[in-house]
């Protein structure tokens, strides 16, 4: 659907305007952290698999918030300049559900978004800053 200009969009909500965007369901995971099990977490793992954060799995993804998901989350938070908490905090979820390009952020296992930034960051969990 193309709208030649903004006035062409009818003022009344189009039927699909009320349909959930594909990732809105992730908002219910607010506060979720490692060790928990939540219905639908497997879909979030699929999301991270799509964008290169979790490698392909020989079996279906589980609903467990496991180490794999936590590690993916930390890399995602680093790529998107978020606090690297490893948890599904509000800011991280806001970014996850935002519309985006379908290309992966991580290709062949290397995070191309942050080339040049220290990958050891997420192991220490601390920011290193230099005064300018």
């Amino acid at each position: 659907r193309f709208f030649p200009n903004i006035t062409a969009i009818p003022p009344w909500p189009l039927p699909n305007a009320t349909s959930l965007a594909p990732w809105d369901a992730f908002k219910k995971f607010a506060g979720c952290q490692s060790g928990e099990k939540r219905d639908g977490l497997s879909k979030l793992k699929q999301y991270f698999n799509n964008f290169g954060y979790i490698p392909n799995s020989p079996t279906n993804f589980s609903d467990d918030f496991n180490d794999e998901l936590e590690k993916a989350l930390k890399i995602y938070q680093q790529n998107f300049n978020l606090n690297v908490t490893g948890q599904l905090d509000d800011q991280t979820l806001q970014q996850i559900v935002r519309p985006r390009c379908g290309n992966a952020d991580i290709v062949n296992g290397t995070s191309s978004m942050n080339s040049g930034k220290s990958s050891s960051f997420h192991t220490t969990g601390h920011f290193r800053t230099t005064a300018h």
């Binding site: 200009n5 305007a17 965007a21 964008f51 935002r98 519309p99 191309s112 978004m113």
Partner: protein, 195 residues
């Protein structure tokens, strides 16, 4: 800025690129003009040129709107979510989700539709991929992966320009300044300014 693995780019003997549209999409000239403007963002800062052609199948860059599964293993997902994707050089395929509410002109930020997406903003981003750029962590860069609905972001940031010029060099007429998007547009969503 970042590149695809192996740093693919268009070779020196293929810098005058052509682009075509899937005939089945039957796009209006106004919609095609959005892509012309988007290509100009990149040609302004590099030696690359882009010329529209009516011959989709022989074009270097093939632009098509599809819905759902369209055969490349990356199905689209309806309104919002994944908006588009594009392949690295010299593949040239550029796919957009036909299910989106694309806004072709006017101020998308004042749209009454919460799922309105600015076509030119997405086009400028995907062309960066077609030329060899990966996603960037720099939030005001065009190559930052996410964009809120009702947002316009079409000017290349310095990060984008540095990246593309390290692949292709500069356009002799480029005077070396970029209007970073923080001076031109502000991303607003749910009333909250995000820049």
């Amino acid at each position: 800025y970042a590149f695809f693995p192996g740093r693919p780019f268009w070779p020196a003997n293929r810098r005058d690129l052509t682009y075509g549209f899937l005939p089945a999409n039957e796009l209006s000239d106004e919609v095609k003009a959005v892509f012309t403007r988007a290509f100009e963002k990149w040609s302004a800062v590099t030696p690359l040129t882009f010329t529209q052609t009516d011959s989709f199948f022989s074009a270097d860059i093939k632009i098509a709107f599809y819905s759902g599964d369209h055969g490349d293993g990356e199905p689209f997902d309806g309104v919002l979510g994944t908006l588009a994707h594009a392949f690295s050089p010299t593949n040239g395929r550029f796919h957009l989700d036909a299910a989106e509410n694309w806004v072709v002109s006017g101020d998308v930020t004042t749209s009454s539709l919460s799922s309105a997406v600015d076509l030119e903003s997405v086009a400028v981003h995907e062309i960066g991929h077609l030329l060899g750029l990966g996603h960037s962590s720099v939030e005001d860069a065009i190559m930052f992966p996410t964009i809120s609905s009702r947002t316009r972001k079409v000017e290349l940031a310095n990060d984008d320009i540095d990246g593309i010029q390290s692949l292709y060099g500069s356009n002799p007429n480029f005077n070396g300044s970029a209007t970073t998007s923080t001076t031109q547009e502000r991303e607003t969503s749910d009333g909250e300014a995000r820049y």
